[in-house]
Symmetry: C2
Subunit: 492 residues, 2 copies
């Protein structure tokens, strides 16, 4: 009990609050391997719900799953020049394929004779190995489009890691599509951006801004990177998903041509797109509070918990009966329910524990409830309690879950709106950026200006928003012309 | 079309038939990385169906999913003495964490300054990293049992690889459970053996024999290994899933103790169990024929394909209408249907292609069918055709799918029975083993005798069957006492 209350307050130290919450809510923990996490069952159950929903959305848009090798020949990485610059630097390198008993007999050492001819890299992303495969799959326009997705683990040797937000190994999905025309590939990249935005808003209750990355922030090897950007409660931005229009870069690097309808050879057009376990970080940081997690009902492994409050076996038996009916009714509506009548923990401990775990709705049933035909309901998002009649409780709860889903989305949206403002001078910018949030500013479109702003303020362009005011203006730093305001923020 | 017909016959070269079939049916292919496969969308769709079904069965028996790191510190492997002997030898070793531009500027080389202090191994199985984690999860009997499963990729540096059957990287699930008592852990190992057997028989239509492995074939670090063994059409055995009772070996190696109800510290009892993409190999080799794959309806990505046969647009339109009704009716019954009215392939080509892909039921609708209110049905398992009335066709097909599922199971079972026989002398054994199949023999229970038989005949003990005649006898090699007959076979 004491342990549960120990959570640092967001206002005291937001970063520490997050780190503690991830561990205390049993979502994930550090492993024995630097920068690699263990995703614990409760955290994984949330990730599984995300996966299932995303996978359904990918399939509904015509995609299929496949699996490509974990290891990539070193030489593949340098085929696409920009790609290697962006990715090849920090990665796990496999150099040997055998261990042997150490000379002292007390352990194992790498067998120097088992050195690989060419080193293999644990995939940091799979464009190279996949395009090397597509070369054999694509001959004619009839073989296109290819709309593949892969659920996989990837590895980037990050120096500073944080659970879910930045880990050396993480889980993700990566879509890799191949098309006959530029237009089709561009449309695909935008289609998947919209799938991500829909998923974030409808299922994660996460308001996002759809936009285009500036050249500095673009994916290594892409012609255009689309992004969904979310704002965390501390006003920092979190890039939550990206979709890349890759042009013909990878087709050229791996010589993937097709015979078009006019019987001419042409390079194939490509996209790639991905979201990762980083979304878990976004989910946690957007909705949770000083009592613990707040989960959107659609992704909560347990949507409703029922806790009996009793003094003796006879009372418990009466409550069990009542609870059985409620649980059967809720399950019939497709709601996941847990009945916690464990007798080795007090109700107060259970209350705090399920609050920490972010269960959206808690029901408590005591003796007086049995007499009055009532149930006490607490909603996790507002912590409001009310006592309602047992009759019709199932539908009431179903509606309440919908209401919670809508409410936490609106709350996050309101926060973002309150922390988004237009800034017109660089002086004002330097002051405002310290307060956090999104700053809508005019920018001259050059990497140099963006770089200068980043160096001086640690803020970057999160995106050039797609659905926003397109009024031109003058760059706040250089005074040069600007086509539209872009979003600056500090970010995770 | 010509390409489709090119499949080698099983009777000519069973091994080549298999290798060709995996590739021609678009299930998997070799990648650019030695021994690592690409699982193509059609193959992956079958694997996904297996995963979904198994995952449901694991959850129904109280298990939860989690995720543990891909990389394991080298020193972990040598903690459990037998385990390192069995696993550490051939594995992928990560020694560095950075690449840098090569001196000539034309590519990348490993940065010698980025050498890891301790090498990391790509998991060949995860007992060590998981028990190192469980150490922090387990303190009291109240923390037990832990019933975790993980879906993951693993890597074993195999010298000779074959698609699905033996690959350097493969996909699998690995359950790792922790218990307070020996009895509970033993019961868990047997429970999961039964889950695997149920899955194999009901969903893969794969008859299996449940048994115990001899000491020679036991998992490295286990006290007992349970196995399900299947027979392929060439009479060779294929180990299809194993469940291990690990005793307290890993708890001792990683010092995982708990305080029991009597307030005493005790080592935790363990099991682990897994099935892998190897099951794809079993599925293919058990049911398929010289025309291609034969898939059990429960695992077929497409259960029914509908092909129109027409000469002009008007005819196609009439057939489209008819097909729409059938498809809607089948989908309403939860049957997955594909309507293939692509006009760039002839019906004959489509017929051969869907036969190759193992689609259980094919419907062909032509003009005469429209006139007669009929449909031509072909079932893939027997290749029998019949023309049936359109009325009530949906339920007829649903029953037919059940019949196919039952029939291919019975067919496989009959083959296994016809190729299983008792053998009483070693001389007879040496002759009989050349004919393939399972030989039920008496054995004196010693590793030495088993080793001698393996060296001389390439046959191993597949298992000591659990549900079989327990009449004692005398070892066919040494004449020493034998508790019961065991199954010998050559195996994949």
């Amino acid at each position: 009990m004491a342990e549960l209350k120990d959570l640092t307050k967001r206002s005291e130290n937001y970063s520490q609050w997050y780190n503690e919450l991830v561990v205390k809510a049993d979502l994930a923990e550090q492993s024995a391997v630097r920068g690699c996490m263990v995703i614990k069952p409760y955290g994984y159950a949330i990730w599984e719900k995300m996966q299932r929903q995303l996978d359904d959305m990918f399939k509904a848009t015509g995609h299929v799953n496949a699996y490509f090798p974990l290891l990539i020949p070193k030489s593949f990485l340098s085929r696409e020049a920009e790609h290697v610059e962006g990715f090849a630097k920090e990665c796990a390198v496999v150099t040997h394929h055998r261990l042997k008993t150490s000379p002292d007999g007390k352990g194992v050492v790498v067998d120097p004779e088992a050195r690989l001819e060419e080193e293999l890299i644990i995939r940091p992303t799979s464009e190279t190995i996949i395009w090397n495969t597509y070369k054999n799959w694509i001959h004619s326009y009839r073989d296109l489009p290819i709309l593949c997705n892969q659920w996989a683990n990837v590895m980037r040797w990050e120096m500073r890691t944080r659970l879910f937000l930045r880990t050396a190994e993480f889980l993700w999905q990566e879509g890799h599509t191949a098309h006959a025309t530029r237009e089709e590939a561009e449309a695909e990249a935008v289609r998947m951006l919209n799938v991500y935005a829909d998923f974030a808003e409808k299922h994660m209750a996460l308001p996002v801004i759809k936009g285009i990355k500036s050249a500095n922030e673009r994916f290594a090897g892409a012609l255009e990177t689309y992004t969904i950007e979310a704002m965390m409660q501390d006003g920092k931005a979190l890039q939550s998903g990206t979709s890349h229009f890759l042009g013909q870069n990878f087709a050229k690097a791996f010589d993937v041509q097709f015979i078009n309808k006019e019987n001419k050879a042409e390079y194939v057009w490509a996209t790639s797109w991905g979201v990762s376990t980083r979304l878990m970080g976004a989910l946690i940081m957007t909705h949770s509070d000083d009592n613990g997690l707040v989960l959107p009902p659609t992704l909560a492994p347990i949507q409703v918990v029922v806790i009996p409050i009793y003094k003796n076996e006879e009372q418990l038996q009466q409550i069990d009966e009542k609870a059985d009916k409620i649980i059967a009714g809720l399950k019939a509506l497709g709601i996941s329910v847990k009945y916690d009548n464990a007798d080795n923990k007090r109700p107060g401990f259970k209350f705090a524990d399920y609050e920490l775990k972010g269960v959206p709705v808690r029901l408590a049933i005591g003796c007086r409830d049995i007499e009055n035909n009532t149930v006490e309901i607490m909603r996790r998002d507002t912590l409001e309690k009310q006592t309602v009649s047992f009759d019709g409780i199932e539908l009431y709860i179903k509606q309440l879950l919908d209401e919670i889903q809508a409410n936490i989305y609106q709350k996050a949206l309101a926060l973002r709106q309150s922390m988004t403002r237009e800034v017109n001078s660089y002086e004002e910018f330097k002051e405002e950026i310290e307060k956090g949030g999104f700053l809508l500013c005019h920018w001259d479109g050059t990497p140099e200006t963006e770089e200068k702003i980043k160096e001086e303020t640690k803020a970057t362009i999160r995106c050039i928003p797609l659905d926003s005011d397109k009024t031109p203006g003058k760059c706040m730093v250089t005074g040069k012309p600007s086509a539209q305001r872009v979003i600056f923020a500090r970010s995770y």
